[in-house]
Amino acid sequence: MLISEQKPLEEILSYLDGEKSIFVVGCKGCAEGWGSGGEKQVAEMRSTLQEKGKAITGSVVVDMLCDAALTRLKLKSYRKEIAAANSVLVLTDGVGVQTVAEVVDKVVHPGCNTLSSGGAHAEWKESERCLECGDCMLEFTGGLCPIARCSKHLLNGPCGGSQGGKCEVDPSIPCVWQQIVDHLAKIGQLGKLEGLVAPKNWSVSLISGPPVKRFS
């Protein structure tokens, strides 16, 4: 499950600047679930763009935009409408946008921001618990991940901004280091935090390592 939300309309319109006709694509999977690009939002986007003076050559809501074969097949039946448009606006997460870009030879605009994979790698939904960093540190942090959940990714936390169990960056964020200390205290293992955790190997992480490793 990828969690996305629509970008602000002004931002979408800035992408479409100078373009007269648009084809809109949505998805019945995650984007329908999160209300960012299902049937309803695609219909709303059609009328919004028309009000702003854009011609809509057509639209489609694909069952699973992340399925390239299915998307290719589905968009084939809209060949003419897509050809008549200056560009394609895709209302779903970053994966769906990339699928559409792969199967149509047109300018493709993202209409949404992808916020989270919502535990897509497992069945623990709602918030990100693993950033797939490739060098697991949970051994040293009581089974709670500061890479995913500390604003400064501290491995030897907590920092001086932890107060009342909250992160200084935003009071809606729980301080994971408070949770780590509480958890280890509860199971009598606070001593685990006394050792120095050495600098982490970021070379195997998704954001610092060579991306080709993940795409064979």
Binding site: Q178, V181, E194, L196, K200
Partner: protein, 309 residues
């Protein structure tokens, strides 16, 4: 002596040390540094120069330190992990040592969200404790973080920060222990207004014997206005300003608040000096550097030992 640091020499002589702080400008104006340095000269043993404090883009700490040193201070370069990965940090460590700097304070850094570029990407490749260890290994083992060996090592007196007022309180002394184990030579704390809580933390520190391993300098700051006191009480993360402090400033006419705030600061210094294990004081008065000499004098901390670096 591990270094040529004046601060190290003063602390090793068991003299109660005085450090202060100098904030670089949001411009390329060297005169700002020179003016502030002239005010502080002769009143402090060393002077921190902040590194993009509150994540606002300013003149870099190391560059401002070079200017401050020309004016006769022993500067403490502050270095944060927010803006540099381990490669950049080590390059700067070598650079500041080559430029003749003797002290470095290792910080994780204020989160970029609080500054004037909140959309910046934070680096946080390593944290402050790992930075302390990295600098210590460079100095004492001549080793880069990767394990490679260097020919000429950086002789830096290594500092770190501690906040006795943050949560979880029970873990704060243990975290100081980690900084000491990593190789910190001195510690400057969060600004102290709640002396009782600081004393409680110091007791936990002494129980672990940490005051023998690392020199502890609590920070103090004079308050200029009731509004500033309230702001620190409610808006600054990790600050503990007891109600009595605000009440004391409210108890005097508005035009006398700066004097009362200064007196309060001197009172706190006198209380902190009595606590076993306190090795010196860090007086921070950002954008009010003029008041520092008055505080140092009134607290009976003059004359300072002759500077030697």
């Amino acid at each position: 002596m591990k270094t040529k640091s004046n601060l190290e020499r003063v602390l090793e002589s068991k003299i109660f040390a005085v450090t202060s702080e100098l904030g670089p400008p949001q411009s390329a104006d060297a005169e700002v540094i020179r003016r502030k340095a002239k005010i502080l000269k002769g009143h402090v043993d060393a002077c921190n120069v902040t590194d993009g404090q509150t994540a606002v883009a300013r003149m870099s700490s190391w560059a401002a330190c070079v200017i401050a040193k020309e004016e006769g201070l022993d500067p403490i370069v502050q270095m944060t992990c927010r803006d540099r990965n381990r490669i950049a940090l080590q390059m700067d460590v070598l650079g500041i040592a080559a430029l003749g700097m003797n002290n470095m304070l290792c910080l994780t850094g204020d989160h970029q969200k609080f500054g004037n570029h909140p959309s910046a990407k934070g680096v946080y490749d390593i944290d402050s404790i790992q930075l302390v260890k990295m600098v210590k290994d460079m100095r004492d083992e001549k080793k880069f973080q990767c394990g490679e060996v260097m020919t000429v090592e950086p002789h830096l007196f290594i500092g770190a920060a501690a906040n006795p007022f943050a949560d979880p309180f029970e873990f704060r002394a243990a975290r100081l222990g980690k900084k000491a184990a990593a190789g910190a030579d001195f510690i400057q704390t969060q600004i102290v207004y709640n002396v009782d809580k600081f004393a409680e933390w110091m007791k936990a520190v002494r129980d672990k014997g940490l005051h023998e391993k690392v020199k502890i300098l609590p920070a103090v700051a004079p308050i200029k206005s009731v509004g500033a006191a309230r702001y620190m009480k409610t808006r600054v993360p990790g600050m503990d300003v007891p109600d009595g402090i605000v009440a004391r400033l409210q108890g005097v006419p508005k035009e006398q608040v700066p004097q009362e705030g200064t007196k309060l600061c001197i009172d706190i210094i006198n209380q902190l000096r009595e606590i076993e294990g306190v090795a010196g004081i860090h007086i921070t008065a950002i954008e009010w550097e003029e008041i520092v000499p008055e505080i140092v004098e009134a607290a009976g901390l003059l004359p300072r030992p002759k500077l030697s670096t």
